[in-house]
Amino acid sequence: MKKLNTNFWVGIIVALAFYGIVQVLLTTGIFSDVTRSMLLLIGVNIMLAVSLNLITGITGQFSIGHAGFMSVGAYTSAILTLDYNVPFIPAILAGGVLAAVFGVLIGMPTLRLNGDYLAIATLGFGEIIRIIMLNTEYVGGASGLSGIPAKTTWTMLFLFTLITVVVINNFIGSTHGRACIAIRENEIAAEAMGINTTRYKIIAFTIGALFAGMAGGLSAHTFYVITPGSFNFLKSFEIIVMVVLGGLGSTAGSIVGAVFVTLLYTYLREFPEWRMIIYSIVLILMMIFRPSGLLGKTKFSLGKLGKKEAKANDAISESSAS
């Protein structure tokens, strides 16, 4: 337990140091605006990937509707700041909360489903949210909302990302998180052991949706414009790809996956015709040759300090799986 705590604080310190260095580089102007917006995008994607990892990687509920939650958060917070002059942070939080409400709504009926059927149902929900936005004149219809104040700063984004990672990572490490892992490993066995599977699945969906909503709000306040089309199922796929490429079930993996995919996307922008082709080939090769993702099941820990514990955890989950 003590080891986990040291790890936790070392992680926070490293993150803060990273924040400081980037902040200095940004204020001195060494980082260009392009780099800045890429950093913001990476942060938003980390939030999305880590929150989806809780649903898919930890609880084992396959969801392809994450962009739907993001869209609810983005629209809510954008409307609040645009039309009601609500300050930035409450607007983002409100977006997250409303997305969480949707998480409960979607979680409840679809709990009867599992595997591919759940995947398709969540895809359907994501698409329905998009089509509702598309047909609502109040939120701009197909052309979406524009002129959203670009209030997302590097500091804000860093704070929200850090909170996301810390909250979700601590949740995973808690009793509740272990219950979720038990559901992933074997739902029937988990139920037999007295775990209320329904409750934990809803909790996972709600927390995941909460942070996805906040990520949506932050991204809306970064790029001025949101349209229903930017939250289609391709966006959901992109988030899944981040989680799977990083390593399902690993928070560190989700972060690495988010960074990797964002960088790949950004740098491939120079070859527009080839971008998606290279991206898809990377995807296919990755799945064939390293299906467990870049980091596999590595736990969120730093260096050798955490390795022993990670191993012990893996041993536990492996023995429970077999």
Partner: protein, 301 residues
Amino acid sequence: MEYFIQQLINGISVGSIYALIALGYTMVYGIIKLINFAHGDVFMVGSFIGLYSAKYLTDAGFPPVVVLILSLVISMTISALLGITIERLAYKPLRKSTRIAALITAIGVSFLLEYTGVLILGPQAQGFPDIMDKKQFTLFGSSIQVESNQVMILLTTIILMIILQYIVRFTKTGKAMRAVSFDVEAARLMGINVDRTISATFAIGSALAAAAGVIFGMTYNSVDPLMGVMPGLKAFVAAVLGGIGSIPGALVGGLLLGTVETEISSLGFSSWRDGVAFAVLILILIFKPSGLFGKNVREKV
């Protein structure tokens, strides 16, 4: 009432397209439990092959009926080969890995087909040549109209369905397909070549998608490299609606979805069409997760 029947006729012709694509989904899912997201893009490729062969054959001076049949056959053959290639290169190495890895690969293949299409053909839509002159038939007096195209689409679908039923029921490959989808291991023990059977499934599914692509081109007169995405998703909805793994289910699901969509559009809610399709999907999943024709599979402990 007459308006309703008119829309029903239009719905059936849209539904036939969904049904043909849905068959590929349902067969592949039934046999290897993979949602083949690339299937909608095979439909797109089939459509383009149909377009080019129709253009070439018309220029060569063949009569319209021959052009239609030949371009269907060419498109179905090449797409079947494409399906087998995709299965061999992308899905076969993943047969033992997790479902999610296979799904991501399917998405990757889908992107690959779409954007290779954009690279080669350009992103803009292309006109599909009129293979046959369109004629209007009137039924029951004068208010209900049927286009010759619609009749032909329905005929093609029915003929293909009959061929498919024959293959699945009476040929060796068909029996092997049913055996493999029932129990892979037992089928292997009985001496069935599982890999070959899976390839055959992909070939048949892709050929049907290609046929749907040609029909789609003839109906809407416009094809583009990204056109497979929505019909692909809708066809999957149709497959789930009918009960995934069931061939008559795919047919009924496709026709039902097509009809519902057209009726919704005709009531003036055409922009809500896609939403309704997904809402139908979710309702079906919640109240009858195995679909209309699906069997309930008990979970084994």
